[in-house]
Symmetry: C2
Subunit: 232 residues, 2 copies
């Protein structure tokens, strides 16, 4: 009998970045527990995609926790009264697709799941290059959360440190897609679009679609995305 | 017209400590927005109590957000398979009523609500004296969360700092009850018991009931708690 494999909780949204993060942590030898959070997003296709990704990439378990951030409003992703922007990124401003305190809540839930499963590691697909407008996608946010996690938990008090892995932090979308392809990910099972339809088909116009398309183009790989707009 | 009053989000659980925290922040001149989190507790009486407290103590709004921490298990408060202890506190150990990462998730949700309401302050009834076994009730936890909040949010990036108030941190239960009584709180509307019945009546035997009773006794005040066990 060898020593048990270390365990990691990985936040899996259904998109390219979190799928790649899961594949990277699996490749590093972690037994992975996938966690998806239904926070009142406008569509459910990405949760279906998350389930496919967790299973295909070998997660030992996949949990979905519902927390209704739309009760607060304030984001185009959870508030039906705000339009999803299609004009491309605006320099030096925080997009309306920013969900207040989203990653603090997501990592808090991942921390809870990590404590229960005995995991000492959390995988998180944050990226500071493409999401430069989101304060909770920056390296200093990940460092601050790791510091909090090492104070907040029973595990930490008992001497088992918690580490937050954000392996994509400084990668371009093209680099992410290339790394995922190297690890064998079939990205046709992922959904990135902010307004995908129920079948998981993408609009091709929102910021998430633009980033994703540019990533495949930059990586020199065929874009496996299914679009619902025929003009795309 | 005077300048607008500062806004604070206050986490209100339905118990003595959070009600007192709300009264203290109101007394300090904040317009208060109450937030309760339904995290899969065993009983609903405390959420009913939270609504009464928010209204009676003058909160401008009260939101309830559901997040099902019981999906993870691991705590006697959210996992039906674990018994609520009635033997009194055990020295130097973390109680089974500890909910993994609970206060990280609760403060994360308070942070989201604060961003949406434009609040720069969060009130949190953590107490390091009576809950010494809970890692996320310590002053260093509050400091670490405040540091995180000042990195994580759009508000922080735009130069509006976030402050976490935990005014009860170093108070005994007797001091808390005395302070609340001075501020006019009717504690009969609060529920502390870990296994209260649907009418909000308490068992009188669990750790939360013991602490509460000792608090009124120590403060020299009549205990307004309604108990369901006639032998108490």
């Amino acid at each position: 009998m060898g020593s048990p494999r270390p365990r990691a909780v990985v936040l899996v949204s259904g998109g390219v970045d979190s799928a790649t993060t899961l594949a990277i942590l699996r490749g590093q030898g972690f037994d992975c527990y996938a966690l998806s959070v239904d926070y009142g997003q406008r569509h459910r296709a990405e949760l279906d995609a998350a389930a496919r990704i967790a299973k295909t990439l070998g997660a030992l378990d996949h949990r979905v926790v519902r927390v209704d951030l739309s009760a607060f409003g304030g984001s185009a992703l959870t508030d039906g009264a705000l339009a999803v922007p299609v004009a491309g990124p605006q320099p030096d401003s925080i997009p309306v697709t920013y969900v207040p305190a989203r990653n603090t809540v997501l990592l808090g839930l991942a921390l809870a799941y990590a404590e229960v499963t005995g995991a000492g590691d959390i995988g998180f697909g944050a990226n500071a290059v493409d999401y430069s407008g989101y304060p909770d996608c920056r390296p200093q946010f990940v460092e601050a959360f790791e510091a909090l996690a090492n104070i907040a938990t029973k595990s930490a008090v008992e001497g088992r440190p918690m580490r937050i892995h954000a392996p994509l932090m400084q990668m371009s979308k093209a680099q992410i897609v290339r790394e995922g392809a190297r690890l064998g990910i079939d990205y046709s099972m992922t959904v990135s679009c902010y307004q995908a339809d129920d079948a998981g088909r993408a609009c091709g116009a929102c910021d998430a679609c633009r980033l994703r398309r540019a990533g495949f183009l930059g990586a020199g790989l065929a874009d496996p995305t299914r679009y619902f707009a025929t003009s795309v």
